[in-house]
């Protein structure tokens, strides 16, 4: 046994766990609890709202709606026949398809359609939970600097990168848990609503795999939001300033870029969030160009696939985390 081992104190009885301490610390924070409770209330409110705003129509309501739709369709066909401007080459089938009216529009209360409503609300919830976790991340990072517990923790674990990355990992873990709980709760609510007040059939064959893919993308967004919020607050060392910067960026900078620097639009946060959450991504208009031989300008459309949007957001957050870590490692803490 070396002299250092002989001299070692008696109080340190086991391996310290910064990760465990940080999980306990985050769990103990009242503001985090409050935010998560608000999130839960929000999910329940969405579930209750969906349940009460839908109704499964009985046979009589279906018959009535179908009759109304048929009348509407016939009126459209009659009007089209007398229309002198209509396409002379249009076949009767094409005309019928053009005038077809969905009878579901005539229900007083529409049924909950699992195939449409479950993924639609899941996307919205993922965006909402991401915003919530951004707040959790920002306030956690800001609180560490406001209470100056970040430097104090270095008396216990002097490896700064380890401290920061552990805290980030805890926020990311919370984000995964929040995303999973949200999607599970919503899926259960949606199944119950569909069975009692809606339609469960008519789902495409890959419905469940698509839903799982959507939920994974949503979880990624929530994790990135939490980690990004924490990294931003660590860079700025102040919750209010970090939230202010985020607000100004989203409301002012992104709109300025959309207005004056359109080619940069595919790199904007809002576009990439939409590209990540929407099935098959989104198309982003980035300007116009002329091609030889065509006097009319052509729109330049960039497709933001799920993969591209996810990678753009991930790289952005990694850059923030690396910046925050590098700065924290170099900083004099006075």
């Amino acid at each position: 046994m070396s002299s250092r081992e002989v001299m070692r104190g008696e109080a340190v009885t086991g391996r310290g766990s910064l990760l465990r301490a940080e999980i306990l610390r985050l769990r103990s924070r009242r503001f985090v609890r409050l935010l998560l409770l608000l999130g839960l209330v929000g999910i329940i409110a969405v579930g209750v709202g969906e349940f009460v705003s839908h109704a499964r129509p009985d046979a009589e309501a279906v018959a009535l709606a179908k009759a109304q739709a048929a009348t509407q369709t016939q009126s459209c066909l009659d009007a089209t026949k007398n229309d002198t401007n209509r396409d002379p080459n249009a076949t009767p089938d094409q005309l019928a398809q053009m005038c077809q009216v969905d009878y579901q529009y005539f229900f007083a209360m529409t049924p909950f359609v699992l195939a449409d409503d479950l993924p639609g609300v899941a996307s919205a919830l993922a965006a909402g939970v991401a915003a919530l976790l951004f707040l959790v991340g920002t306030t956690s990072g800001g609180a560490d600097w406001a209470a100056k517990t970040m430097p104090a923790l270095l008396f216990w674990e002097p490896r700064r990168a380890k401290v920061l990355l552990t805290k980030l990992a805890v926020v990311a873990g919370l984000a995964v848990a929040a995303a999973a709980v949200t999607q599970l709760l919503w899926t259960a609510t949606a199944l119950a609503t569909a069975s009692l007040r809606g339609i469960s059939d008519g789902k495409p064959p890959d419905f469940w795999s698509q839903l799982l893919w959507l939920n994974l993308r949503g979880a990624l967004l929530v994790v990135l939001a939490g980690a990004g919020g924490y990294a931003l607050a660590s860079l700025i060392r102040n919750t209010g300033a970090a939230l202010g910067i985020a607000f100004v960026y989203l409301v002012v900078i992104e709109n300025l870029v959309r207005g004056f620097l359109r080619p940069l639009s595919p790199y904007l946060l809002a576009e990439n969030v939409a590209g990540l959450l929407r099935n098959n991504g989104i198309d982003v208009y980035t300007g116009q160009r002329f091609v030889p031989g065509d006097p009319n300008p052509q729109d330049i459309i960039i497709h933001l696939s799920n993969l591209r949007a996810g990678l753009t957001l991930t790289v952005g957050v990694i850059v923030f985390v690396l910046l925050a870590t590098a700065l924290f490692r170099r900083r004099d803490l006075t």
Binding site: G9, A21, P151, R330, T334
Partner: protein, 304 residues
């Protein structure tokens, strides 16, 4: 083996749109193991910066710093388990209870949870441990900071102004605690303080800092002895007659109860001879050592 060793350390703070501020300028410091080592200096002399450099909070620009013979900050993770620290105001989550704050630190360091109660009891906070830290007075926060620093049962306890915010009774308790820790045979206390009386009462060794440099270091009694006042304490069988003789010889004499203080007596043998020639034989003669305040003010008088 020194517990703390600093050789030629330097640090200049450079802040945007502000002039550079040289905080540490070639500091040498050695703290041997055991006892209480005082670290004295006027405001801005670099005490807290030195402590922050030792704890890896501030990067030294030059020099070598070692704790337990390991270079810091690079080897700090290896030795941090044996170091307890309280630097300026203790920092805790205000909305957590004192106990909760300590429990979280205990988990971080792998300290047995029972130790939390022990240290809370040591600093007299057991009864208030369930209150949120934001409800604590400055003195209570200071106690909680000491409790946190003691949690690891450290071999090196670094305390930066631990008496800040404590009431007189609390300061006495704190000094007893520090003295006790320094005397336990395994703990070295490195005590930064501007309270000269505290250092004089509690410390075995002292280092005095001025403008980022060490101006004197050593055992407290040796430092004091090295700075004589030039005054003598004398006792005579006939005090009044002796006083008259001394004053006639040009000395300033003031009373010290049953003895006289002779000011500016640089040559005790000449004084003894002069008194003997006039028939006064000393029953006691002792040089009066400077107190720490005098030494401190003398050594740091040129500091800004």
């Amino acid at each position: 083996m020194p517990v703390i060793e600093v050789r030629g350390a330097a640090k200049t703070y450079r802040r945007w749109r502000k002039p550079a501020e040289k905080a540490i300028d070639g500091l040498d410091l050695v703290v041997e193991g055991g006892g209480v080592h005082g670290f004295l200096g006027p405001n801005g002399s670099g005490k807290t910066t030195t402590i922050r450099m030792l704890l890896g909070m501030v990067r030294a620009e030059a020099g070598e710093l070692r704790i337990f013979d390991r270079p810091v900050p690079s080897a700090l993770p290896d030795v941090i388990g044996d170091i307890g620290a309280l630097v300026e105001t203790p920092l805790f989550f205000p909305t957590f209870s004192g106990r909760r704050n300590l429990e979280l630190l205990a988990v971080t360091a792998g300290v047995d949870g029972a130790r939390v109660d022990e240290v809370l009891s040591t600093v007299g906070l057991l009864d208030r441990s369930s209150d949120n830290v934001k409800a604590y007075s400055l003195g209570m926060k200071q106690r909680l900071g000491i409790a946190a620093a003691l949690l690891k049962r450290p071999q090196l306890l670094i305390l930066d102004e631990p008496s800040n915010g404590l009431d007189p009774a609390g300061m006495v308790e704190m000094r007893e605690l520090i003295r006790g820790l320094g005397a336990d045979g395994r703990t070295t206390v490195f005590l930064s303080s501007h309270l000269l009386g505290e250092v004089e009462q509690v410390c075995d060794h002292v280092t005095i800092l001025a403008r980022g440099r060490c101006v004197v270091s050593g055992r407290v009694d040796e430092v004091l002895a090295s700075r004589q006042t030039g005054d003598l304490r004398i006792r005579l069988p006939d005090p009044e007659a002796g006083r008259v003789v001394l004053e006639q010889a040009g000395f300033t004499v003031t009373s010290m109860g049953d003895a006289w203080r002779v000011h500016g007596a640089d040559d005790p043998s000449a004084l003894t001879r002069m008194l003997a020639e006039r028939g006064h034989f000393l029953s006691e003669l002792a040089p009066i050592a400077a107190d720490l305040e005098t030494v401190f003010l003398d050594l740091t008088k040129d500091a800004p």
